[in-house]
Subunit: 229 residues, 2 copies
């Protein structure tokens, strides 16, 4: 303020056009107001960015712990599942991918290679190559469908069906550590665990159509077993 | 009974020493009693085994559906975890087993090869071979401990620690589909899923000591992150 008064008195002293001085004063006032608002915005942004950082940092710790937990759990679970699966299919000279392809084609009542790749969580080339091997063994057949000329479908042959059904019949001949390890939960709650949170995470990662295929194949398996009763 | 009386009368007839005959009779009585008890046990077992079979048969359908569900879910989850993990460690020229070995040795503050194999769910030879490779890169060191002369311990070197901490710092540089896929659960419940049922199944399969190591390593990770704050 003193500065403005000084300028004003200086203008009186030097007899400069007072209206110009007033314009200069107004100009500086605008500049000052602008700088002040800039400073306030900057200050606010800075606070927000610190809050954001704190938030992010807190989440980072949680995220890290969660990621390590799920990594460890899912590795341990999958390794146990894999071991059970391998010992079940070993007598039939199949690997897990081959059995999974047969399983998917059987329960979806025919599937495209991309269905198999998606639902079997394997690369398209893996799905194709193993399907070709299964075709060579007479367990799968490739065909076009009238309703969908663009895609090639794989279907389980009669020989493949017989093999799969034989495998289901002999399911309990091999050890199933995962099943055994789930029995205390069945005893406690009267049913096997349904892994709601894992299912939700997988739905978010792989999408609704993945889960639809999943439920469809389980329903088909259920009706197959009921039919056999 | 008639047979015993016949034997007795026969002994009188042929004037055989009666005390021997009585011993023989007692012996046969014991044999008969033993056979009868065997038959009863067998009959009981047979009934029980039929009950068990009926029980088993009902459970077989449930068991089959459950096994297929967990196989599919755990494969999908592990493949997503594996993909995230690989993209995180790729810039550091490590594979998942190598990083897992470093991670275990770091968070357990030194570990034996069998600790690593057990907790990392890998074969002992895999744990040993990759540990040797990490030693050659100066990231791990092998040593004996005064408190336990029999086992060889691996510890993360200073260089290894720096590498691991750099990896933690750059954790958010790569995509984490599993973390992203879990955020809606965090939003809904205010925390990340804790996978209680998966944890219980894994505890039953791998035992309490596996879970103890698991919790210990997560606690150490937590305090490491807090210390960095």
């Amino acid at each position: 303020m003193e500065y403005i008064l000084f300028l004003y008195s200086a203008s009186l002293h030097y007899k400069i056009n007072q209206s110009i001085i007033i314009k200069i004063i107004i100009f500086f006032k605008h500049v000052f107001t602008y700088l002040l608002s800039c400073y306030n915005v900057f200050k606010k942004l800075n606070i927000e960015s610190r809050v954001y950082m704190a938030d992010q940092f807190y989440t980072m710790k949680e995220a890290m712990l969660y990621s390590q937990r799920i990594a460890q759990l899912s590795k341990a679970l999958w390794k146990a599942v894999e071991k059970d699966w391998q010992s079940w299919i070993k007598p039939y000279d199949l690997n897990i991918n081959e059995h999974h392809i047969l399983w998917i084609s059987y329960h979806l009542k025919g599937a495209t290679i991309s269905d198999i790749a998606k639902f079997g969580v394997m690369h398209v080339s893996t799905a194709f190559n193993f399907s070709k091997k299964l075709e060579a063994r007479g367990l799968l057949s490739f065909s076009k469908r009238d309703t969908d000329k663009r895609n090639t479908y794989v279907d389980v042959t009669k020989k493949g069906q017989v093999l799969l059904e034989e495998m289901y019949d002999n399911y309990h001949e091999t050890p199933h550590a995962v099943l055994e390890g789930s029995l205390p939960i069945k005893e406690l709650y009267g049913k096997f665990p349904d892994f709601m949170d894992v299912t939700a995470v997988i739905r978010n990662i792989y999408g609704d159509d993945f889960m639809d295929i999943f439920e469809r194949s389980l329903k088909n398996l259920e009706s197959t077993i009921v039919a056999k009763d």
